[in-house]
Assembly symmetry: C2
Homo-oligomer: 441 residues x 2
Amino acid sequence: MKPSIPKGTRDFSPVEMAKRNYIFDTIKEVYALYGFQQIETPAMENLSTLMGKYGEEGDKLLFRIQNSGEKAALAPEKGLRYDLTVPFARYVVMHRDEISFPFKRYQIQPVWRADRPQKGRYREFYQCDADVVGSDSLLNEVELMRIIDTVFTKFGIRVSIKINNRKILSGIAEVIGQADKIVDITVAIDKLDKIGLDNVNKELADNGIPQDAIDKLQPLFSIGSLPLSQRLSSIREMLRDSDTGLKGIDETEYIIDTFNTLTTGSGSVNTLDLDLTLARGLNYYTGAIFEVKALDVEMGSITGGGRYDNLTGVFGMPGVSGVGISFGADRIYDVLNQLDLYPKEAVNTTKVLFVAFGEKERDYCLPVLSALRAAGIKSEVYPDIVKMKKQMAYANAKQIPFVCIVGESEMQDGKVMLKNMATGEQQLVSPDALPDILMRG
Amino acid sequence: MKPSIPKGTRDFSPVEMAKRNYIFDTIKEVYALYGFQQIETPAMENLSTLMGKYGEEGDKLLFRIQNSGEKAALAPEKGLRYDLTVPFARYVVMHRDEISFPFKRYQIQPVWRADRPQKGRYREFYQCDADVVGSDSLLNEVELMRIIDTVFTKFGIRVSIKINNRKILSGIAEVIGQADKIVDITVAIDKLDKIGLDNVNKELADNGIPQDAIDKLQPLFSIGSLPLSQRLSSIREMLRDSDTGLKGIDETEYIIDTFNTLTTGSGSVNTLDLDLTLARGLNYYTGAIFEVKALDVEMGSITGGGRYDNLTGVFGMPGVSGVGISFGADRIYDVLNQLDLYPKEAVNTTKVLFVAFGEKERDYCLPVLSALRAAGIKSEVYPDIVKMKKQMAYANAKQIPFVCIVGESEMQDGKVMLKNMATGEQQLVSPDALPDILMRG
């Protein structure tokens, strides 16, 4: 009898929703400011659209859907959306004739994964993606970095944006003669801070990288603390024989320089830096790779993205490359909570509650209430005739900052008693004066 | 290879999304203005929560969900949300200790039904519900009517709100001695306009209603065109021996009177009237029943609702009654389209596109673009260096109202050429002047 919800799913209460809406609305507003347009796709896709797109592991994590009416023997033909990228690729192919490229779309919708639920990992969660497809210009990367800067500046969260480039990693593997070992090399480099240089070199050797190749890698390990320009010139020197590697450096330099030129003033709390150990989605990204971390909270990546080739090839439409980012709403929610950064306006609901002693008094409140709403002030009246204590408890529970108390004497004077719930201060005011007072208060 | 989406589901393009957001944002804003708070529940619920709540027919229309990882033999234990009411009831029971009653919640989320898809009927569609639970006050009914009036006044859609009351219908069946025939009687009354009085009486007789009972019903059929107050007094006279019936009349009178007192000025385009033939959700509603139709478009009900008892009894929490409404977003979308009522601001996306002739020119545009965005003006630059014609086509396709054209001469003068895409008018302006001009334009 006692109801429950499926494991890994969540209800969102009014306060949680207000905070989540603040996050989503801020991100939507910035996406729109940069010319991105919203789309939505269905929660369910044909299984043929989803299968084989997320690796063997991903196929297992798809939720499948059965019509109740269908024969039980029938294999499911539909599945729940696993991410927003594959439905977007499917959308681009189906709507290619209506789309004016470059297509700058954003999409904020839940996705579902049959992962084992654990702390911070859910079976239903929202993704907030923006992508530009149909343009190879690096300006798109810069614009996405600017979006990240603008969003986190609005949130008041100081972040570092790390950028890397698949082409640089390819170049490194290439110049040491180990192009096919790019993943092993990247994984090892990534561990430098944790396990130290000797262990990194040992791991490389264990993975079958010859000693002369390991020797050639060594300059990389000593440049981490150099200023960016020196790091770039060191890597450029190292990669002088790899066209791919040099292209990766040029791209990174352009993105960082242009970002820095355009990022001034308040936005400069957020920094953009090269991080050669960043290898997120290495099998997927073909150019720039980015990742964002909060500076003042211990937390994993809160935003990420990169450039990819051939988004829609699997659906029979070749030649569409793109670049995208994805904000991690659940983690941003936690960061804003930990740093106590939610603006009061964002979580405030009703501004004033009318508290009446009886039916006559409540009727007296109704036109006053209507006038407040006509002025755009969120307001309500306690609907039942109950003790004042109960009405005040309702105001407290809902964190309503003002109440208007109306008893017989207020009614006779043609006034209301306005009480500030935080200070306890009370004043007898004329209904006509209420909108102004409440808009200021 | 050619991708498709499951039948009965839809993609929403940027223009459709902008219109839908206008609808949802307007409804959300009004709900909040009246003190309602948003919640969200998971897309999937335990099947035990859903089964048996929508009748036998409804059970068949549930989409069931299987984990891919689970053994195929395992029966599905989860299903997709079929409406927002049952998840809300489940929510109230699970969160009863956190909720401060009366609980005024709204919820705007998609629901899924394995119905046969047809024109205007989808397998995935949004519901926009608001309910007040834990209060018997009729003021809640009035507030919901006021919400309907406020929302449709904002939309510019003239509507008639029809109200009826289950208690009046019960009273009618009671005074003619046919309490158990309430459905047959209501169905027959509903057909008066279509089939005429003689056929209605014949249908009543065919359904086993004795002639003396039919005779007693006759006064009802002649009052439809009377003014409301006379209709009410006629029905009151007819129901003088039914406490239930008289209570229904009192309730209806209170709701209509209070609504009319509070509804003045621009809102008065929307009317509230008694309609005895309204029997929507008769098995579910226990008090007021409402339905909204657009006056200027041929279309079914675009909003509806009513009062119900014992929302949460099925989950072991008795005594929670409530009243709610639900806006039909898809139909409102069609009405706004047919009447061409979408405000320009609602569907406008980017305000200005920077069109550059080369890389130098594009770089020159970037800080100007940043300044516009800092001023909150939605703006973008075409990211690739391509022919002006292509850039202008992009502006046209996206219905961007202004472009800033920058060639060598504009750059040398430190200006941009601002073109109004609607009028074709061009003017050379200083970048500093752009924000002001565009905010006015």
